[in-house]
Amino acid sequence: MKYASINEANEAVTQLITGGQPVLVDVVRAKDVIDVFQGGAKVLLHAGPPIGFAEMPPPMQGSCVGAVLFEKWADDAESARAMLERGDVRFEPCHHHDAVGPMGGITSGDMAMIVVENRAGGNRAYSTMNEGIGKVLRFGANDASVIARLEWMRDVLGPALSAAVKKSEGGIALMPIISRAITMGDEFHQRNIAASALFAKEVAPLLAQTDVPQSDLAEVLRFLSDTDQFFLNLAMASCKAIMDAARTIEEGSVVTAMARNGKDFGIRVSGLGDEWFTAPVNTPDGLYFTGYSSDQACPDMGDSAITETFGLGGMAMIAAPGVTRFVGAGGFGDALATSEEMAEIVTGHNPSLPIPTWDFQGACLGIDVRKVVQTSITPIINTGIASLEPGVGQIGAGTVRAPLGCFVKALKALGEKYAVAK
């Protein structure tokens, strides 16, 4: 090891995390930036560690059907499903292609993708954009309205934002927005309204400078105004870009990715390369919209836990008093207790992200596998809850715990790597 100790390696990892400088530099089509889509290959990216179509939970399968229809690989849902069941479409995790995807995370070559560059590491990360609420692909809906929105995002929203970004000086810096919004009550997983508003504030004058037609401009601004969670995907891509830079250290015990595919919860660790350490996912616990209950909830899924990996989301629960009651319907005290508990399993606090409601302590920094196993405290993740039935969409929101099993496996692998296992 090029470091004197695991602790020293972890310090190098967390320095890259605190030094991250994510910048939105473009919005493109996925196939423009992700190799596997090139040449028209029938490939879909998905959330979480590797999984095949048959093992995916129903909403994720619904998303796949939607993506096949969007790509016009099939004419209707039935033949799309048959095609997927036959194995005509290859699946790969978003995480294996510098990307992250919310909920099902299903991403196809023609979808619009944001491009976030980490100016500190020079690396890039990609994500689809937030579709808003209601019937949306990420929760498994795939009817004509869903496909039409994806097309609009590809043909109107994406190009408009791309044009706007090009009017800026070198892109739109996202860390300043994150730092400000965390003082305005966002934790960037359950709540993004402040960051979304700040982003719209940045982008609106730029949009006005483009030659996007007036009617499109109105639609784009209306969409940004309506979509409270628009910044979630920007936050995810930012966190992915930062955590991927941290992966270059290749030593230590800091978690660099957490992701779920509806079956398994997987983590990657700074000293353990590309390997996923997995354990069965838990089902989220939370509050349900009218008419729904926990027996309709889909097991945990999505790459959005990259926000927790970076120290936001559930790890920063205390920052977002407006949504704290999702933590077991408790109050401020419970949120504080949650963040205090999360502080047990991290290497320190991120000085770039002081949280006013936490007496300006920085957000949690660097989940240490050793501390998780030592205390049996696992990261808490804020999440939307999808209906098991595809197409119904989101039925609630709450929290879910990462399963301890994947951390135990990673610890044993660390033991082998550093040759201390019995």
Partner: protein
């Protein structure tokens, strides 16, 4: 039955509405209640589930809709009322406590880096490892837990001795440091008596008795029942004694234990003789062979030990000038004067040189004088001094001005017949006397007891307080007062650096102020400390890796890579 109730202009965010819906659905005979804002989308949802009504149609986005599905016996207004209640009382915060709670050792010290005492109440098997980690960090340890092996105890105490730290326990139930109540302890007046106890209830009995006798306690250090055994060798007893010898807030030390192993008793007795402070030892289970050996007094019972300590201690010890060697008593009660004379004669081996007690001098020997101001010589033509305090007050300046006077002994008799406020009359004379002597470069001690009860009209506690405020030391009875006066004339106890343990730096730091405590285990101990405004962090201890030994050893190895 389905009912729709609209509450106009009542905006709540969706989280609040979901919480209220959940609460209302839990009401008896209610099947389900959905509370939503009257947006077009929500109204569509409600129409689709059978809640369509004229009221619903007219609801605006700023109106709150309660869609109630309940048995027929449920009055919809009761649901509305409950909803109003729930919305009015949304604060879900846990009240009050700001006691910080952590789940790991490292974080305990992140939160409270200045911690200098760890209080352990966890299963005995895990104590040694945690105590060892505390000692490694230079933190003193109190082990409330039992079932710790003797070998572990010896190893921990040897380590503590080498580091100048204290390990109290295992099985140490009681301690009090810097006013901080540790585990099973009593609320006592702060004072200058320090306890070193190998027994929890022994410590509690002595500290409580000291408080009841009007004395005060500086510190209670526990040892655990095995410290004075042959195997442990009194390691921590010697450490505690050395720390208290060094502690400026402790004037007098009490040692409470079962009879130690013979060679340990020898060591402790030797150490006690060289502490430079008076020591009271009570070895419960044996009758002391000697009452006193230099600065060390032996007591038979816990109450005796407390009484002895209160007699000896008593406030700041004055430093007398070379010529100050005399006790001067001005009494209003004849028998009290005689009792004082008797005790002083016995203490110094004096004889009664003037049995006729002319001019009320019941003692006038060896420089000491005890005068009974109730003698006929003083009451001719004027009232008894218990009624008219002026007779005594007139005589006080001369006593203070006498360069031979070291201690002024007084009685203060209250009750029916006595003057309304004898202490109030004495107080100015005491204050002036002390000031005069001090102006002449002498410290004079004033020692008083109050003869009376809490039921007397003058108020026993008030009389004591008045005298104490004036600068007197108040003892619980006349004999104690006289013994305290005699103790003040004792030669200062010797110190011998060779015999006592070296000054334990870590313990000295602990005793220097209020401790900062990491409480590992029983939460109520931390809450008590927190309520007493002691800096405390609660460590909700669980075994490493949930008790998985293989993972624990892997973690241990990975900490050091």
């Amino acid at each position: 039955m389905l009912t729709t109730v609209v509450k106009p202009n009542t905006y709540q965010d969706s989280v609040s509405l979901m919480l209220v819906s959940k609460k209302l659905t839990e009401m008896p005979d209610v099947i389900k209640v959905s509370v939503m804002m009257g947006t077009p989308a929500n109204k569509d949802i409600l129409r689709g589930t059978g809640f369509g009504s004229a009221a619903l149609d007219s609801a605006q986005p700023g109106d709150m809709i309660l869609a109630i599905d309940a048995e027929d016996n449920v009055d919809p207004q009761s649901v509305v009322h409950e909803a109003e209640e729930a919305l009015a009382n949304q604060a879900a915060g846990t009240p009050g406590s700001t006691l910080r709670t952590v789940r790991s050792f490292e974080r305990a010290f992140d939160v409270l880096p200045e911690a200098n005492l760890g209080l352990l109440s966890i299963p005995g098997d895990y104590v040694a490892a945690e105590a060892d980690r505390l000692l490694e960090r230079g933190v003193n340890v109190m082990i409330f837990s039992d079932n710790v092996s003797l070998d572990d105890e010896i190893a921990l105490k040897r380590k503590a001795a080498a580091k100048g730290l204290l390990v109290m326990g295992p099985d140490c139930g009681t301690a009090m440091i810097g006013g901080a109540p540790l585990a099973f302890t009593n609320e006592v007046t702060r004072g200058d008596i320090g306890l070193v106890a190998a027994s929890g209830t022994g410590a509690q009995e002595v500290m409580s008795a000291i408080d009841r006798l009007g004395g005060g306690v500086s510190t209670v250090l526990g040892l655990g029942g095995r410290d004075l055994s042959h195997q442990v060798g009194g390691l921590m007893c010697l450490q505690a004694l050395a720390a208290l010898a060094d502690d400026a807030s402790t004037s007098t030390i009490v040692i409470v234990s079962k009879p130690p192993a013979p060679e340990v008793r020898q060591k402790v007795a030797e150490a006690a003789k060289n502490l430079g402070k008076p020591v009271v030892i009570v070895f419960i289970g044996e009758r002391p062979a000697t009452a006193r050996d230099g600065n060390v007094r032996y007591a038979y019972t816990l109450a005796d030990a407390a009484a002895l300590a209160v007699e000896i201690a008593g406030g700041g010890r004055p430093v007398f000038a070379p010529g100050q060697k005399a006790i001067r008593g001005l009494y209003t009660g004849g028998t009290l004067a005689n009792e004082a004379a008797m005790l002083i004669r016995d203490a110094f081996g004096l004889t009664d040189t003037d049995p006729s007690h002319r001019q009320g001098y019941v003692l006038r020997s060896g420089g000491h004088e005890i005068v009974d101001l109730g003698d006929d010589a003083y009451t001719q033509g004027r009232p008894h001094p218990m009624i008219d305090p002026s007779a005594r007050i007139e005589k006080m300046p001369a006593v203070f001005d006498d360069p031979a006077t070291a201690v002024v002994l007084l009685d203060c008799v209250i009750g029916y017949g006595a003057s309304d406020d004898p202490a109030g009359a004495l107080a100015p004379a005491i204050r002036d006397g002390i000031e005069h002597a001090r102006a002449a470069g002498r410290d004079v001690a004033v020692v008083v007891s109050v003869c009376g009860t809490r039921h007397d009209p003058q108020g026993y506690e008030e009389q004591r307080a008045t005298l104490a405020e004036a600068g007197a030391t108040v003892l619980p009875d006349n004999a104690s007062a006289v013994r305290h006066a005699l103790a003040l004339l004792d030669e200062p106890a010797a110190t011998s650096a060779g015999a006592a343990a070296p000054r334990p730096v870590g313990v000295a730091g602990l005793l220097a102020g209020r401790p900062a405590v990491v409480n590992v285990g029983v939460r109520s101990f931390a809450q008590t400390l927190h309520d007493a405004e002691v800096s405390t962090v609660q460590y909700d201890w669980t075994p490493v890796a949930g008790g998985d030994a293989e993972l624990a050893s892997l973690l241990d190895a990975l900490q050091n890579v």
